[in-house]
Amino acid sequence: MIWLTWRQFRAQAVVASGALALLAVAFAVTGPQLVHLYDTTVATCRAQHNCSIAINAFQGEDNFLQNLTRLVMVAGPALIGMFWGAPLIAHEVEVGTHRLAWTQSVTRLRWLTVKLGLAGLASMAAAGLLSLMVTWWSSPLDRVGAGWLAPSVFIDRGIVPVGYSAFAFALGVTAGLLIHHTVPAMAVTLAVFAAVETGFALKVRFHLMPPVRLVSALNMGWVTETGTGGLAGHTSFFVGITPNLPGAWISTSEVTTAAGSTYLGPVPHGCGANYTYSACAAVIARMHLRQVVVYQPASRFWTFQWYETAIYLALAVVLAGFCVWWVRRRVS
Amino acid sequence: MNRGTVIEFHLEARSGVAPYLQLIHQVRQALRIGLLSEGDQLPTVKDVVGRLVINPNTVLKAYRELEYQGLVTARPGIGTFVTGTLGEGSLAALGPLRRELRRWLGKARRSGLDDESIEALFLTTFRTSAEDVEGTGRWAG
């Protein structure tokens, strides 16, 4: 059964290996150059007082490969689900070869568990290898980037790709098992996977751990803008802050009154159209305003990774279990 | 002298006669006209089945029946061999009988009977006299 599974999986494995190899070569060639560039421009930028220019230039380096990497990390699990997962059972049932495979001398249970196990492990290994390569290559860029907790970066690093791939794979197999036709199963897999991943990233991930709630006096160094706004008859005034918490994932940040409610004005004397920014800032500094920042600190990155991976793996296991149960009872 | 298998069977699909009876008939026919003699081996079941594409039980049944009639003997692992002969008439009697039959056929044709009538006449007479044989045990001339 192991031989047969490998033989049927061979073509897909070759394609994936080829793609990984190509990417590895691209990384191996450009990686050291990136490190060198970082060492010569960004590391020394403070001394030369051109940090923002240097960083901007550096972040634009190897732009094509950066975008390609992001695309591969996002699309990778979905592709695994569509091309490794969906056809696993659907193709056999579509073509009728399941009637050959299930009437040899192995039970359906053994047939499915070997196929699920081998291809599932291959998915996770491919994802793990990919993530390793990408994390290594991106490390210079990450030092000047938005931090690993940022939603667009989080999914491209660490171990979550392994979880996503396992889940997408199991999802594909389930879709194929229920739908019996490869192409519709692929479409359903893509749609459901995209929905789950998007929903999870938007709604669930931030709440995996209770966020840190920073309440303190307004840090004038964090104030980045002031402004007036007008509803009919009322003029409101707001102060905006950009907290300097490197690598943190900030959910909300606002300026409040001493009592704790959002500061909305009125426009203080010394601020407004006729006054300079620094004069206004001086006024604000004397107003005993406070700030409330709700965020997840950068140090929690690996905790979040483990939690999320565990959840996706658990989903994958549940789906796989369902497939094993269903295939024994409901398919001919 | 090893003569191998001597006869080949054939089947008439629409004759209304059961296949195993056809096989028996062909063996008996072959024995009568001297195509098969004692010591000859009948085709193996596998050979017959391969050539005619019929159920092996059919061949087995025919061979069993022939064995029951005392005409063949099955030797397990080796094959089925002819061990008996058929009828009291020997080969020698065939010649004169054939000549007599030719003369009779000539007479029948000269008297104006066509082939179909000759066949009908022969068959009905043959059948009624066969019944007489059953009753008396002798050919009632």
Binding site: W3, T97, L100 | G16, P19, K46, V49
Partner: protein, 296 residues
């Protein structure tokens, strides 16, 4: 004599429709069994129930003494070729044999290789490029080389040309001689089955109409022709299978164990094809119970 397949009130329903209903069978070993009936009659359903691809809705079925698919041991004793002989188009002939070897503990590699050679199949040929007849022969090889006690074939010759059909049945019959396998094969054409089957099951409208030894069926079914008469007025022990009338004449197909004494009838023998046709043209009669061969 042990039964190779036993069914009791077996039925299978898909949503509203009963694909097979009230099926009771007792098939002895050592036979080549023909399952014949029109398309959609339930032949594939019955065979899939026998091989364990389907589970019954009602009743039960036992194959070689076990309820299929009981366990790997039972799976190993039954060989199966599904309709259209499915094979892996991307694998070669040799890889299919390897599949058989890996998935079947009782695999006879020598026999499999010999058979492939005699069939003239090139081991390195991709199976997707073979003809329909060659693929059917390969599928049969896979089923035979696992040394089963029972072989189940679903319409094995339906899409084969006459030469391929003959070759297939020839190979099958030779395997029966060599290994003493029992065979159940289905077809919607009686002509395919006539020469090779010694037991027949007629399946029409998802029900078994008649089942028994071919010889017995042929000797107990007769064609009766005579002056126009109401079939209901025949004696109790003569069951009318089909009837047709002109103004003056009645033709009946009748099943009876005993002789027919009524001199008004001209009694003639019936061949297997007409027998099956008579059962196929019977109107659906829910109350009629199928006639079964008495187990000797």
């Amino acid at each position: 004599m042990t039964a190779v397949l036993k069914a009791q009130g077996l039925g299978k329903r898909y949503r509203r429709r009963w694909a097979l209903s009230d099926c009771t069978l007792d098939i002895p070993a050592g036979q080549v069994v023909g399952l014949v009936g029109p398309n959609g009659a339930g032949k594939t359903t019955l065979l899939h129930l026998a091989i364990g691809l389907l589970q019954p809705t009602t009743g039960q079925i036992e194959v070689l003494g076990d309820r299929p698919p009981a366990n790997p041991a039972q799976l190993a004793r039954v060989g199966f070729v599904a309709q259209n002989a499915p094979t892996y188009g991307g694998l070669t002939v040799a890889e299919h044999l390897r599949l058989g070897a890996h998935l079947n503990p009782g695999w006879d590699a020598v026999m499999a290789r010999d058979r492939i050679e005699r069939l003239g199949l090139e081991p390195r040929q991709r199976v997707g490029k073979l003809s329909v007849g060659q693929r059917a022969q390969l599928a049969l090889t896979l089923a035979i080389a696992k040394k089963p006690e029972l072989l189940i074939l679903d319409e094995p010759v339906a899409s084969l040309d006459p030469l391929a059909r003959r070759d297939f049945l020839q190979g099958l019959m030779e395997a029966v001689v060599d290994q003493g396998i029992s065979v159940v094969l289905s077809s919607h054409l009686v002509a395919d089955l006539e020469r090779v089957c010694d037991y027949l099951i007629v399946l029409v409208g998802s029900r078994v109409q008649i089942a028994g030894q071919v010889e017995h069926l042929l000797s107990t079914h007769h064609l009766l022709t005579g002056p126009r008469r109401d079939p209901a007025r025949l004696p109790e022990d003569q069951h009318v299978i089909s009837a047709s009338h002109t103004d003056r004449q009645t033709t009946l197909t009748v099943r009876t164990e005993g002789p027919i004494h009524d001199p008004a009838w001209t009694v003639s023998k019936i061949d297997l094809e007409d027998l099956v046709l008579a059962y196929m043209s019977r109107p659906a009669d829910a109350g009629r119970r199928p006639a079964l061969e008495v187990q000797r």
